[in-house]
Amino acid sequence: MTQSTTQPWISGEAFVWAAAVKIVVVFTIVMVLVAMWTLVERKVCGWMQNRLGPNRVGPWGLLQPAADGLKNIFKEETLPPFAEKGLFVLAPMLSFVPALMTFSVLPMAAPVPTRWGLVSTAIADIPVGFLFILAISSLGVYGIALAGWASNNKYALLGGLRASAQLISYEIGMGLAAVAVLLLGGNITPAEIIARQQAGTWFVGPLFVAFFVFLVAAFAETNRLPFDLPEAESELIAGYHTEYSAMKFSLFFIAEYANMLTASALVVTLFFGGWDIPFVARDNAAPWSVAKTAATAVAFWSKTLFFYFLYIWVRWTLPRFRFDQLMDLGWKVLLPLMLAYVMIEAVAIAALENAGITGRSQDLALTGLNVALGVVVFFVLDRGRHVGGAAVRARPYWQRLARARQGAEGGGGD
């Protein structure tokens, strides 16, 4: 467990009850946030386009999620006669459940002291937490791929295939970015990774490039713009959920938002110190109190909600990638970049540890290295050759052709 304290950890029957309470609390928080964020999404979209956004249902449109939910419950559930019935019904659940499950291993605040002992704020504080996250988050694509296949509709199938192709490509970049975190954290338990960040600095500094790649991959994994190719409405109608209606469609929608929330919480846990309050050391040490739990919970959720907001912000700023551009970015940019980055980081960490530099000074040294690497990545490697796809590959050919023609026409300039 996180720190050795005089307060004993909860055990026995009380542990089971505590886990049940935690499940209810976390489920409620996640569902309420998901519901509110469907409204926030539309509100922020409105403001960014100099509109008001939904403002009819309740004060400032606050009851809009309730109205949407009611509407979806009362709408007709269509079951296409040509669909593979069993999987068609199963697919929304398959995408909804993993979206919620990932949340169970993330600690959301300092441990809560109770009469029966300390209670960890992660539902399941399992030692292999990070592997669990990687495993479960990849399961979500089964729901999407099966929805696309079971619909027996060409657009839905294309959407499902795109989702699986995209997820595989970006899982690698994401996994390698996580490897960098594990190198520095030295552990795969989320609570330990947070404790390491509390002792040193947040990993966003020492692992800035990994953070950026992780963020980009998280956008791709949650199928959000600019990577929402699986549902690309301009090409695929609605992609994998073309044939879905009413609550089944709504489940996909909830799953998407729950996935975004999970990815935000994950970014915060891995790179922004989890529930750590910056520049304060007292919040991460015993004795634990309810006030500390409340303060750290505020810290965790405000950080998480910022990234949750970032999803919306990016969505209403950037246009969608073309599919070949998406694959180019995943395989030709992020994968080699992260392979090189992990090697550089590993060498740097090993060298620093051999030199006896650990803890905060190690983090500072790595931050310096990452600033240098960041400059190289964003100001040198990013130039010109970015995500051009087929057009960029073809450009030298057309340029050669144009030059040859100009030469044949006697070099006449226009």
Binding site: G46, M48, Q49, N50, V314, T317, L318, G384, V387
Partner: protein, 168 residues
């Protein structure tokens, strides 16, 4: 001749996806705090910046004379000129030999709101109006009879005047 491809000269050294994306995000963030440009329609129907044009051609209106009767003399010009064939007119004649419409119906659903009926009318009886809120629950509801056309109160369209093309 072979297909020619114009190769654009783009400053490749200066282009960068990440920095361009960040610039775009700062722009959208600024828009978050700007005032909305929209008009809140059902509550607010016109403002200093925008009001409906006097030349708007909308829901029809039949002009009424001092005796409360329709000005229409059932000459038959409007059904003749109507490109959408949406005006139904059955003329009648009274004891003095004055023609009047026995049946005068306009199907607002078929109408293309060209305003020819108003232009062609010798008695200035039928008009298109400065009005657009005509929703109905059934298609039949869009067939306006003479009585309903006479009851309309919205201002009539001034139409386009060739001598004053910009409406000044």
């Amino acid at each position: 001749m072979a297909i020619t491809v114009k190769v654009m000269k783009r400053p490749e050294r200066e282009s960068s996806y990440v920095r361009a994306a960040l610039r775009g995000m700062s722009l959208t963030f600024k828009h978050l705090f700007q005032k909305p440009w929209t008009m809140q329609y059902p509550e607010e129907r016109s403002s200093a910046e925008w009001s409906i044009s006097g030349r708007w051609r909308g829901t029809h209106r039949m002009a009424v004379d001092e005796n409360g009767k329709a000005k229409c003399v059932a000459c038959g010009l409007c059904p003749q000129v109507c490109p959408a064939n949406c005006i139904k007119l059955i003329p009648g004649e009274d004891e003095q030999g004055n023609r009047y419409p026995l049946v005068y119906e306009i199907d607002e659903f078929r109408c293309v709101f060209c305003g020819y009926c108003q232009e062609v009318c010798p008695e200035e009886a039928i008009h298109v109006g400065v009005h657009f809120e005509n929703s109905e629950y059934s298609r039949e509801g869009f067939v306006y009879d003479l009585e309903r056309l006479m009851k309309q109160t919205h201002p009539v369209s001034s139409l386009w005047d060739p001598s004053d093309p910009k409406g000044e």
